[in-house]
Symmetry: C2
Subunit: 497 residues, 2 copies
């Protein structure tokens, strides 16, 4: 029975790999005329996966295995728990309602695009209201988790996460970051960033990206780099973890820092233990933990002074006229430039968390009842003014900027900020074991850093829950002071505050 169950779950993963190849292909150059038929192909395979995931046969296997839970090997036991959770979530929603939701979601996504184009929230509002209503209905089926409707959503992206925790940690982070940002603005001195926006030919960016990935220990025998419009990392199977990027010839950071970020995601997936091969446990354990790996690479390695002491010549090699006479110190100041702005995905390392807090508070209030969708633009703008000191002039640069809400992904945004706090906490714990972190960056020897992360995070895949990983790997629960201390020290120094 145990083997039948495992084979059944592996078969689902086979369909998921096929779906992942189809998605990857669609986003890396599939010819446009073929996409209409492609949507049907994805529809058929997705329906097959859903059928397998909700089949009574699976329910029966779960019940049988749960009865003998204590005698099961650890991996199988965890597999049963995870599959049971997903099975119940899937089964509780009536199929007809889920199909209706899927159709309305497609309309909502299209309406959001239109609305953003027209900078007109009114176009999106009725669809957004439907998405919220659907999610509230689903929460009714799923049941409230940890005491509030919004916590049910949070739990699906970050198991165990609650508004009580987030209110606390976000409050502590904001108490440090907001004044820092104000000081930088008041101070008025900004580094010269001209060199960032000079011409860097695409071919050179691609070569530099490939070399950087190698240096970061990305395994090209188990992955590849391709070009896309909205960069992503995708897991096809444990030994096929792909990254993508986008080349902007007048802002190389899009490709280079994007690649470092996606590399962090990819290295997590490439280093999951072999024993989980082919199982649904062979993936990152949560959105927040995944983001902790990408942000560890992007910020704690990719903005490290010594890392660039070692790697800056690579940029000079591929864009000599841009970087030939730039001192690495000036480059470091430029890439650590911080300034309040309106658009999340263009935000810097310091102000980014404030963008997330705005979204979190709005989602929380939408689902816990104190905010109506129609009032979002006003609240959005007020919060931006309060936290960042800037106010959107229209909905496109305000409440319409992100697509997440259009497909009903409420509860996702906090993962980005959680990942940042986790990353700082991993770094703090790592410093005890690897006191010569800067020296390793300076010599390009990143293997010990990857190995530490593999030991504490990667290898476990989804075997352990986020809080369990964090507790075991750092000796404590979520603690935002590592992030605030890091930001305080770094920005006080860089801006001589």
């Amino acid at each position: 029975m145990e083997q039948t169950f495992i084979q059944y779950m592996k078969k689902i993963q086979h369909y998921n790999e096929a779906l992942s190849v189809l998605y990857w292909d669609m986003r890396t150059g599939a010819p446009k005329k073929g996409l209409e038929q492609r949507a049907n192909v994805i529809g058929t395979l997705s329906a097959q996966v859903f059928e397998l995931q909700t089949a009574d046969e699976l329910g029966n296997m779960l019940t049988t295995l749960e009865a003998q839970k204590e005698t099961l090997p650890y991996i199988t036991k965890r597999l049963v728990e995870e599959v049971r959770e997903a099975y119940d979530l899937n089964k509780r929603i009536p199929v007809a309602e889920f199909e209706q939701f899927t159709i309305e979601k497609a309309h909502s996504e299209a309406a959001w695009e239109q609305a953003k184009e027209a900078a007109d929230f009114a176009i999106f509002l009725p669809h957004l209201e439907k998405m919220i209503a659907w999610k509230k209905k689903f929460i009714g089926y799923w049941g409230e988790k940890n005491g509030s409707p919004y916590n049910t959503l949070l739990d699906q992206f970050e198991p165990g996460m609650t508004t009580a925790i987030l209110d606390d940690v976000f409050g502590k982070v904001r108490a440090v970051v907001a004044p820092l940002v104000q000081q930088i603005v008041a101070n008025g001195k900004q580094p010269n960033t001209d060199m960032l926006f000079k011409h860097f030919p695409k071919d050179g960016q691609r070569e530099a990206s490939l070399e950087l990935l190698r240096r970061l220990q990305y395994d090209f025998d188990a992955g590849r780099l391709d070009e896309t419009v909205h960069p992503f990392m995708i897991e096809l199977n444990r030994n096929d973890i792909r990254v993508t990027t986008k080349y902007d010839e007048y802002d190389f950071r899009s490709a280079l820092f994007g690649v470092i970020h996606e590399c962090g995601h990819a290295i997590y997936e490439q280093n999951i233990d072999e024993s989980l091969t082919g199982l649904p446990l062979c993936t990152g354990t949560s959105m927040g933990i995944h983001e902790s790996q990408s942000l560890f690479y992007e910020n704690f390695i990719g903005r490290n002074e010594q890392f660039w002491a070692y790697n800056f010549p690579l940029l000079q090699q591929y864009s000599l006229q841009q970087f030939g006479d730039v001192a690495v110190d000036d480059f470091l100041k430029a890439i650590n430039f911080a300034k309040p702005s309106l658009i999340r995905i263009e935000a810097d390392e310091l102000t980014y968390v404030l963008h997330i807090m705005v979204r979190y508070e709005l989602e929380r209030d939408l689902f816990n009842g104190s905010l109506q969708a129609k009032d979002l633009p006003q609240r959005w703008n007020d919060l931006y003014e309060e936290y960042l000191g800037v106010r959107p002039q229209n909905d496109a640069e305000g409440v319409l900027q992100d697509m997440h809400w259009s497909d009903g992904s409420f509860g996702y945004f906090p993962s980005y900020a959680l990942g940042y706090m986790y990353a700082a906490q991993w770094k703090h714990a790592m410093d005890k074991d690897i006191p010569n972190f800067d020296e390793l960056c300076a010599t390009g020897d990143l293997a010990p850093i990857r190995e530490w992360l593999t030991e504490k995070v990667h290898r476990h895949g989804a075997l352990k829950k986020p809080f369990e990983l964090l507790q075991e790997g750092t000796g404590e629960g979520l603690n935002p002071t590592y992030l605030t201390a890091y930001l305080q020290e770094k920005y006080t120094r860089l801006y001589a505050l």
Copy 2:
């Protein structure tokens, strides 16, 4: 019922599209470590397709529809016929035997690779014997078609084809080609081909290939060009027809003529009528007809003098030092160079059919009983000596050179030569409707040529059988004299015989 049947067949095509993307991806850069798991994915999806193709549900639908055949729309009627044929072929073989065959086939393919590497037929012989035995067993289930076991195999690649027809037409072609080849050898004068083997940088070859594809009317909104090891064309769906090529920096013909060849295959698929979208009829009707399109493009367009009068500057543009001071006439003589050789895939336009005839005769005698597998190397070498005047020195350059037999693809080889005869016959028929063919090539206006082929061949997909297409499109059955006349005229002129 009709709609249910059509939806059922479309669903199978969805899985086939997923499989095609998986194959395409494996052959255009999928990371090597991921391939082991990928094989399982392909296994699961293939099993699902086979299950759908052999389900009793499908058999019942076919029986019901066959009872009302005369009232069905034309496309549905043809669909029922084609699906019935495949259904019976699939159903007659016991599943356990087919699975055993599949396993032994994998071993046979591996053994062939080993044997070729070691130039030792003995390694491959026991596996080849098994493949032949399996096919003979299957023929027992399928039944003899057109009076002999080998005809059953021929019919699966080229419906209606028989050894009686092939003996006749191959005899007629050989009667012209063999003496021509002997004359060229006796004559002893060969054009200068040095310019073919000069350095042509890969990036330039890629750019020239892309431009050539555009000029040949390949639709990049419904396709793309990628790099691979063994070039192929693959149909994902009617609007996603991909080509691949291989770049040899010291023999540009591999990429450029390869691209023209695959373009012929691709244009066939891109121009099938929209009414066949999503159905298994939305594909080429046979191997031979498919090859007639690739060879039409490769030889009748791609070796046309006026075509190069128009396109030679493109080669000069991307490889100036190679072609800058070459006269287009000398280039034409070089690319039409003919000389007896041992390796089929490196053979020239004139001698190629002789290579095919060797394989045909061996297959025919193997299945109709007068030849044993163990005697193949000797017979192979004797036939090469007889037809081409050259004798292999070992099995790697002899009987082991092609992989087709290792996976049991007997009956396939003749398609290559049939395609060539068909192509010459299309060209002859086209000349009546398009008397200014050369002028169109000279001005780069290839649309009327593609439109003619679309009208006579492409649009029908698999709605019509090969002989039906040929009869309706050219007014007669297979007639090899168009090929022999073409070769006679061309090579007598080029070699001043």
